[in-house]
Symmetry: C2
Subunit: 233 residues, 2 copies
């Protein structure tokens, strides 16, 4: 399906009919998610794809029983993890060694810069020092303004995971199915249902299925684009 047709036709669906979503549709769409660009290639995302009836019901309740969750054939929980960078960093460095990558700038990026970005020491003390030093340098030259805290790293990994989510939803549409991203959920209960531990944030729960005729709430409503787009030619 043409890219722009996908973007045009994708709508958030609040009610699905009972058609199941084939597993290959979910797998292919999740694989598209994993091809999104991501911060320093740290791939800080995790996706739980739930079609099991009991678990789905438990999750739908945690999604405040909204119709989109209750009627979905599948619920995909997108999770951002700020605690997985060490693993991926190790894998990246291993792959570099295997493939004979020896560029010192590239190696230093992954060996030194990535830990500097992702870790902030006990109680974030190291982040605070970083912030002081960098803010001072910032009077004289351009400097990155973060992340200087675990919370700021969380923002980075959530942002990256959102990029993947958009690929996922578009892929579902490209394959003839529908979806809806939901932010109205009980994060504590969603994590409990999926036994998610560690420094994880649930970014969104995406319901999937085939839309019911009443599944779309009215025509798409976007405000005038001049409100959002500014051109400096």
């Amino acid at each position: 399906m043409d890219f722009f047709d996908v973007v045009d036709t994708r709508r958030s669906v609040r009610k699905y009919n009972s058609t199941p979503v084939p597993k290959e549709v979910l797998v292919k769409s999740l694989e598209a998610a994993l091809l999104a660009p991501n911060s320093s290639n740290m791939q800080p995302w995790e996706f739980f794809c739930v079609t099991n009836a009991d678990k789905k019901a438990e999750l739908a309740a945690a999604c405040l029983s909204q119709p989109s969750a209750k009627t979905a054939a599948a619920l995909v929980v997108a999770v951002a993890r700020r605690d997985r960078w060490r693993q991926v960093q190790g894998q990246v460095l291993e792959a570099f060694e295997r493939n004979g990558v020896t560029d010192p700038q590239v190696l230093s990026y992954y060996k030194k810069l990535v830990p500097l970005v992702y870790s902030h020491g006990p109680l974030g003390v190291f982040g605070l020092v970083k912030k002081l030093v960098v803010t001072f340098q910032g009077f004289f030259k351009p400097v990155p303004r973060g992340p200087f805290s675990n919370r700021a790293v969380e923002m980075t990994v959530v942002k990256t995971t959102a990029l993947a989510c958009q690929n996922f939803m578009n892929a579902v549409s490209a394959l003839g199915y529908d979806s809806c991203p939901m932010e109205g959920f009980d994060e504590v209960r969603v994590k409990k249902a999926l036994a998610i531990k560690g420094q994880a944030r649930v970014v969104m729960v995406i319901s999937c299925g085939k839309k019911d005729p009443e599944g779309i709430y009215g025509p798409r409503m976007r405000m005038p684009k001049e409100q959002f787009l500014h051109f400096i030619d």
Copy 2:
């Protein structure tokens, strides 16, 4: 261009040749961005599309002079605004009135729930009260676990804006051009360059152009998908 081909071929490009990106490519891609799903349809995004040489140079410096920024034909700055919801809320309610939408649940969502989600009173006091009440209710039933602070609203609007960014980058690829999302930038200087005021966060700066043969740093590297995908069938 087929959706999955777009996702497969999009790569982050670090060096562009001197080919300009036609304005219609940028406009069409930005319009695709604005069709992304977004939290409560509050459309809390703003995009600055910079092709002016001086302004572009100023922004490239603010992007720490990384090659992807320095060689780009256009720089698109994606901004998330937690302070624009009142305007869009008003527009949505006006549109409802114009179109005869009278469903009390829908009206109450936009009249009452949206302000409850987006505003937290002076010093966030109201958010704190909300957090206490909701956390207590959470012992007995599923409840949303936020946003209870301006910072949490910021997370929501940044997340939504990232969805739009992914549409934008894919659109650029679909139209035969290249892009790279950058998080290494000096937010203070980017805002200053574009005279961005108010409660705005720069989500990412996206460089655009036609890739130089050296513009892609090696083959795409993704870790085994089993590491990220979990199926509960």
